[in-house]
Amino acid sequence: MLSYVVRSLLQGIAVMLVVAALAFSMFRFVGDPVVNMVGQEASQQDRQELTERLGLNDPIPTQFLRFVTNAAQGDFGISFRQQRKVSDVMLERLPATIELALLSAIFATIVGTVLGVYTAMRRDGVLSNALMSLSLVGVSLPTFLIGIGLIYLFAVVLGWLPTFGRGSPVKIGWWSTGLTTWDGLKRLILPTLTLGLFQLTLIMRLVRSQMLEIMSTDYVRFARARGIPEKTIRYRHALKNALVPVITIAGLQLGSVIAFAIVTETVFQWPGLGALFVNAVQFADVPVMAAYLIFVAFVFVVVNLLVDLAYVALDPRIALGAPRGGEAR
């Protein structure tokens, strides 16, 4: 068991190093940060001096090595754009993203499961068909459009909800939350819907097909033959089995929801990490971009590690490993 965990950890670190190296080699394509950092009057010499001070004249491998060495000590440098420590800026933005991502994931999982079961049980119902068609829209419409559409309807036309931002979140230690005030909750509704909609439709379709498959298996038929009430069969036996793959998918999706909330955060001016990253790219703020990519890699590595561990808990054969010469799958 321990060796399995250690192996997984080492793999994770290797993945993160590769991601960081790739990211670093790509940064030269986002352009020159110095352009954004000096006024138009700056002379060629001023630009040179600033480039030198930023350490951008060093070869890419040298810059990468310096970045990794510092990052390992939790030091990501100073943001070119905000002139503040990158670690401070990221920590300040983290709660907004985590809160939004968790709420979206919970919303998507619960509503998705309920709708999935409903559409599976009422296969030919009018509502079921309508939901299935709507879910296609949810999968195919770009997040940006959904967000703008929701803003237009609920904020501009109806005037029920605010258009952007987190309002004034309440500080609890270094964490900030919008969950404790009515205003904060109202501001969470539209971004949560927007971010969660895609996951929702995904989970709903997954649950539906799982349920349909399980309802036609032998053990369900035998259960019916034994006279077990239909409700018990559906919700105690079938649903339980249908949810196993759903939990895996939902877990993995949580990683991508945290990492790729970029569009939703931009549309709603949500002060999270995604919005920070978008601004950083536009400004060619290399320290923030590097730190964000490391963070994303970290989230994925951790989520995958947890999923791996969950498998071990479910199926101990994985940890024991196959006989010599083979790898456990």
């Binding site: 352009v35 001023d46 905000q82 904020a155």
Partner: protein, 530 residues
């Protein structure tokens, strides 16, 4: 909170109003981007300076009509016996937000900070040799040679409190080698009409009225609180204006202006920005590398340049691409600039047939091919302008390969030595409102501190000499004549193809009126409610 309590509070507030205390009115202000830092000397960038203008003040301010207004200095002159010394008399009785008095020591400190190696404004002060306190309210600034327009460069040089800055160890402007955050980046102590309450970068900055402001009574000062929020997505920012969540939107996208104008609860103000959009062509190289014309450079021929300028339908660009938000022009100087004449501003008549004939006469009857570099996130509809130009020049046989990229990739092409583009779009703002600034950066040979944005390979020694003579010419009539002389030559040569001046649009609630400033700066202290 019960309803009766609200009523009680309302009555209380009404009472205080009667007692003569100004009404508490908040102004919610949204822009596309945030100020980058509160340190007033760290970033020479529009939104950063605009926010700083609410908190800090310079010695002189640029008025909406382009003229200068005494601010922390009450008067200034060049010493009659020494043309290299500017004398400034400072305003008395001004206090910083922390209560410290403003005096000559603060000016000397601030100017020295602005001139320090890590300051982003040092270029504007390159001609200055030293700054000296004469007495508590008099300062002498000595330049390396006579510099009659020094004061034009000072409108964004903000005054900091020496004691406060020193006590907080922020004497130096942020240096990226130093790994700590500079105190002045998120804290502020100015003399301005508003003082900092809180700041969360990219989220919200709250300012409160400075009730001890020296200009009280001279300006309306009706806004008691500013809530400044950047909203990056255009659609969201406009939605916030439409839903009434913000009172003032400074960056209105061109495509939304008409829609906002048709709404009852929104007022739109428009005005020209101090910035011209134009095309630059490499006139100095022997060969146009991206062209099918090997061993030749069509741009080196004046006829070709004039033909190209003639083939561009600026009115169509204004109508279709800019939706009316531009003013076609025939020169790269905006009309506010000292040296501009209405005659220069007249664009050449659009005439495809004549342009074709001129191109044929120059030896290119079938045109030529070339690559055009264009930014896509810097100016209003920049990429759209380039696409229009591609079509228009195509009509006279010039086949253009368009490369549109982000500004952080586009500008280095122009700045590199030698430049890596031979045909590009650029916009040029002229903060000192003087022709010399345009000549020095865009037309002078690229050498030393001059010609930094001359990517067209122009090197004309006679022209350089004339441009240099402007810097120290103290006889204003003579200077004017030289400027006119230079423009006459440049207009004829068509080294750049001017397209238009950008217009800016602000959206606001009908009860306030914020005029469009050519520098795109606003002063909330001037806002009054109807």
């Amino acid at each position: 909170m019960t309803r009766s309590f609200v009523k009680f509070a309302a009555v209380l507030m009404a009472g205080t109003m009667l007692a003569g205390v100004a009404e508490a009115r908040s102004l919610k202000w949204a822009r596309s981007g945030d100020s980058l830092t509160l340190d007033p000397h760290a970033q020479n960038e529009g939104p950063t300076s605009t926010l700083a203008h609410q908190i800090y003040e310079p010695l002189v301010t640029r008025k909406v009509d382009g003229g200068l207004e005494p601010t922390l200095a009450t008067s200034w002159r060049i010493l009659p016996d020494d043309p290299t010394v500017w004398e400034f008399k400072l305003r008395q009785g001004v206090k910083f937000h922390n209560g410290n008095p403003f005096n000559a020591d603060d000016v000397v400190f601030s100017v020295e900070r602005v001139m320090s190696p890590t300051s982003d404004f040092k270029g504007l002060w390159a001609s200055v040799e030293s700054v000296k306190k004469v007495d508590d309210y008099t300062v002498h600034i000595k330049t390396k040679g006579p510099n009659p327009i020094l004061i034009q460069n000072m409108t964004n040089t903000f005054m900091m409190d020496k004691e406060w800055t020193t006590a907080n160890k922020a004497e130096k402007v942020q240096d990226f080698k130093n790994k700590e955050e500079n105190f002045a980046v998120r804290n502020a102590n100015g003399t301005g009409a508003f003082q900092l309450v809180s700041r969360e970068p990219d989220v919200r900055t709250v300012l409160r009225r400075n009730d001890a402001y020296w200009g009280k009574g001279k300006v309306p000062l009706e806004v008691s609180e500013i809530v400044y929020t950047p909203v990056k997505a255009d659609a969201t920012r406009i939605a916030a204006m439409l839903s009434g969540e913000v009172d003032f939107v400074q960056d209105v996208p061109v495509q939304d202006i008409q829609r906002l104008k048709s709404q009852s609860g929104v007022k739109v103000n428009e005005g020209p920005e101090n910035r011209t959009i134009f095309l630059g062509m490499d006139v100095g190289s022997a060969e146009l590398k991206s062209s099918d014309q090997k061993g030749k450079n069509p741009f080196a021929d004046k006829q070709v340049r004039q033909a190209m300028s003639m083939a561009i339908n600026r009115d169509a660009i204004q109508r279709v691409v800019m939706r009316g938000q531009s003013r076609p022009t025939g020169t790269i100087a905006p009309p506010f600039i000292d040296g501009f004449t209405p005659e220069m501003g007249k664009p050449p008549a659009y005439d495809v047939a004549k342009a074709k004939a001129m191109l044929a006469a120059a030896g290119y009857p079938n045109g030529f091919s070339v690559t055009l570099n264009c930014p896509n996130d810097r100016y209003l509809n920049d990429e759209g302008i380039c696409q229009a130009v591609v079509g228009m020049l195509g009509q006279i046989g010039i086949k253009i390969n368009l490369v549109a990229q982000s500004k952080s990739i586009h500008f280095p092409l122009i700045q590199k030595n030698p430049p890596e583009t031979q045909f590009y779009l650029l916009g040029w703002g002229v903060p000192p409102f003087d022709s010399d600034y345009i000549f020095t950066f865009l037309y002078h040979t690229r050498e030393g501190a001059r010609g930094g944005w001359n990517a067209i390979g122009l090197s004309d020694k006679a022209l350089d000499a004339k441009i240099q003579s402007l810097a120290s010419e103290t006889d204003l009539a003579k200077r004017k004549a030289t400027v006119a002389d230079i423009w006459a030559k440049l207009q004829d040569e068509t080294y750049y193809i001017p397209l238009h001046d950008q217009l800016l649009a602000y959206a606001m609630k009908p009860e306030i009126n914020i005029p469009v400033h050519p520098d795109n700066t606003v002063w909330i202290k001037n806002v009054s409610f109807k």
